[in-house]
């Protein structure tokens, strides 16, 4: 077992942590699959509005990699296809038909011996998009040879789901998923866990357990890889979201696609933050309605650092497992920069008296104006990777490809630097710059 102790970082003490109760499914009449959740693809539809589809049927494929198809995430009717600018496909909305809810056209089980078997099986079942890759954080390319595969069951992001709680009853499907994922690589299969969690995994000799300790972002894949097996140029590492493991596990062991996941609804603007049984692409309205403590809110699909701003009428993102809600505040306090402190302030700097003591009600306020960057060692406090982030950002702004690669852009993703943006007194969007760098490199290839 490998052990990593991360010192730099910060666990944001945000209010609205979900209570340890899982509530029964809310009534979900519609679910949505949005091609916008997947980077760098060119979707081509295989269905049209009003078609009746069953779970797992192919819905669209990627013109750039035609083998990769996306599954229907519900059985029922395609009630609407939403188009954006230049007829880009924004969303495919399914209305669930309760009569055929669990029916699938293809529930055949196969014995899977090697990598090709597993890849073909996932492609056949249209389940490949569950496998993503680093660098670029996109759907993996089935023909790549990943140098290793990594799964993080240590979710350290603020208000994210606690896998030790939500996956407690999924031991068999977890093991089945990991067993088959191992076949996908000649390298190692790393599984990151918090100390004292998922003890049964240590009996499995085909995985390499990494025990991570320390504040966020210690559970992020990028950070863990930076410590144990850094991504070099031309390296590819595959990964699967922790909450998708049971879905893959059931697919490998029983041949069926079960899109259910356990999500949490949390944040300072939620009346009763708790866990819910849900499904991929669930409607946000069914969870948020009647559970908000104030009217003006921002609903976020995903966590508060990296999630996507959404409205009540939108849906949970494909890879997301939490809904976070914070108040939209436009409050302007008189000479706010002179404020002495107290419970109304939160800072990783010792800049306010008596702050950070109790869970803090974060709002959408930027808490300061955007200014030129002044390097007061703020990012370094919360960025635990062996990368000079300041220099990397400058090389991205200067569009210097070679230097970006040399400074380790392949090892980073937006989520790894989200805390840097959080603490930055100049209110720089560090993640946005990293994404810009990754995009430039990706499109240059």
């Amino acid at each position: 077992m490998l052990k990593i102790k991360v010192k730099k970082g910060h666990n944001i003490n945000i209010a609205g942590v979900a209570s340890r109760e899982i509530f029964a499914p809310q009534k979900n009449n519609t679910v949505s699959l949005s091609p916008e959740n997947f980077r760098y693809i060119k979707p081509k539809l295989l269905v049209k509005e009003n078609d009746i589809v069953k779970l797992g049927d192919p819905i669209f494929f990627d013109k750039l990699s035609p083998d990769v198809k996306w599954p229907a995430i519900a059985s029922g009717k395609i009630s609407k296809i939403v188009y954006g600018e230049r007829r880009s496909i924004k969303e495919i909305i399914f209305s669930i038909d309760t009569n055929i809810e669990n029916e699938q056209s293809n529930s055949e089980k196969k014995k899977l011996g090697n990598k090709d078997d597993v890849v073909n099986y996932l492609l056949e079942k249209n389940m490949w998009p569950f496998i993503t890759q680093r660098p670029f954080n996109k759907v993996a390319n089935p023909s790549d040879k990943p140098k290793c595969i990594i799964v993080s069951l240590a979710n350290t992001a603020p208000l994210s789901v606690d896998y030790n709680f939500t996956l407690a009853s999924n031991k068999d499907s977890l093991v089945s998923a990991l067993l088959n994922l191992k076949k996908l690589t000649e390298g190692k299969l790393f599984v990151a866990v918090n100390p004292g969690e998922f003890d049964y995994l240590s009996d499995l000799d085909f995985i390499d357990i990494i025990q991570v300790e320390g504040p966020h972002p210690s559970g992020n894949i990028g950070v863990i890889l930076n410590h144990v097996n850094p991504i070099n140029k031309k390296d590819v590492v595959w990964t699967v979201q922790g909450h998708h493991l049971p879905i893959l596990g059931k697919l490998f062991s029983d041949g069926i696609f079960d899109p259910s996941i356990t999500i949490n609804l949390s944040g300072p603007a939620v009346s009763n933050p708790s866990y819910f049984k849900s499904r991929i692409g669930a409607s946000l309205e069914s969870y948020c309605k009647g559970n908000l403590s104030t009217d003006q809110v921002r609903i976020i699909s995903g966590d508060v650092l990296t999630g996507k701003e959404s409205t009540m009428n939108e849906y949970l993102g494909f890879y997301h497992s939490s809904i976070s809600i914070i108040e939209e505040s436009f409050d302007r306090s008189f000479v706010g920069w002179l404020h002495p402190g107290g419970s109304s302030k939160y800072s990783v700097f010792n800049a306010y008296l008596g702050s950070n003591k109790s869970p803090y009600n974060f709002t959408t306020l930027q808490n300061g104006s955007h200014r030129a960057f002044v390097p007061i060692e703020a990012w370094e406090k919360v960025f635990p990777m062996n990368i000079y982030i300041n220099a990397l950002l400058r090389s991205i702004e200067a569009n210097d490809f070679e230097e970006m690669e040399q400074l380790g852009i392949y090892e980073c993703d937006e989520e790894d630097v989200a805390l840097c943006s959080f603490v930055c007194p100049s209110k720089t969007d560090v993640g946005g710059v990293i994404r810009k760098g990754l995009d430039t490199i990706y499109f240059d290839k």
Binding site: L305, V335, Y346, F349, L365, A372, E377, Y388
Partner: protein, 391 residues
Amino acid sequence: MNFLKKILAKSGKLFEEGKPLSFAYPLWEATDTILFSTDSQNKSGPHIRDNMDIKRTMFFVVIALIPCYLFGAYNIGYLYSAAMGVSSSVMSNFILGMTYVLPILIVTFIAGAICEITFAVIRKHEINEGFLVSCALIPLTMPPDIPLWQLFIGTSFGIIIGKEIFGGVGTNVFNPALTARAFMYFAFPTKISGEKVWAVGPDGYTGATALSIPANPSEYDTATNLFNQATQFDFSTLNLFWGLIPGSIGETNKLLILLGGIFLIYCGIASWRIMMASVLGLVFTAGLFNLLAEYSTNAMLTITPLQHILIGSFLFGTVFMASEPVTSTHTNKGRWIYGFMIGVLTVIIRSVNPAYPEGVMLAILIMNMFAPLIDYYIVKSNINMRMSRNA
């Protein structure tokens, strides 16, 4: 307050793009956000943000400087009374000092604000609160009897040449306050070279500063002896620490400077690495020179490390100037090298070339110049590590 908020919101419309006053938008933005904290929303990046911003950061540096101002004013009055041979109360000393400090402060801020606002309007960037810190630092590095017109020119030079021509805060190479100081040092040497006494007194009042005593001894002796022989001022180690000696307004009381430094380090604003490293650099070089002193007739070599720390503006420069984040190195390893070299260069400039009795200003400016180079090699080693992994 709502009334004021409404006025600001309404007047703000006049400064929007395409409106007649749009050129002065930076000025309106500054006024607006100084009075009321901004309601800007998190649009891209994380949905939540820390409560620390640049305004508060810069404000904290100014807070750390206030005690130096108060003591500086008192010290001016104290030295004046001593020179006149009268005893005077703490309050009247302070008030007398203030009549020198306030005009200096006001002129500096007017000069600084004119430059910053002009550039913000022309370049269409926000007014950066950093200029407040530069303008708060400049008076503290000045002798109390500096002519105000010299100060005005010096401050303008510092802000424009030290900062604005490089693109403003965040991209400047030299510390603007020190650029101003260096400009005046070379342009108006009669007032500010640091050899003759920096205190307010009767006409023709003169004397030697602590640094110029071992620099120009009448006959060779160790620095400690020379300090003890000085009669005009008390240059004992203890008094050097307490600062009732002539000097720039803010540099003399070492306790208040240390407290300011501890405050900035505690808040996470200034780099403790730089401060620590420059003290180490100074102790190392001064110690080395002490060993070499017996082979030389230069009394400056006999100054002990502790005396080096306490005389002149070394501590003030280290705590408030060297640790300035933009112009120092941006990597932690680099901060150690940068700070250490400032300590080394300070002693070398002070001791080896007695023409410049004060070395810390030039030491910091030289290291400002080398900071990007130090960072370059530190980052390069990280690149090499990554490249060797690829090979």
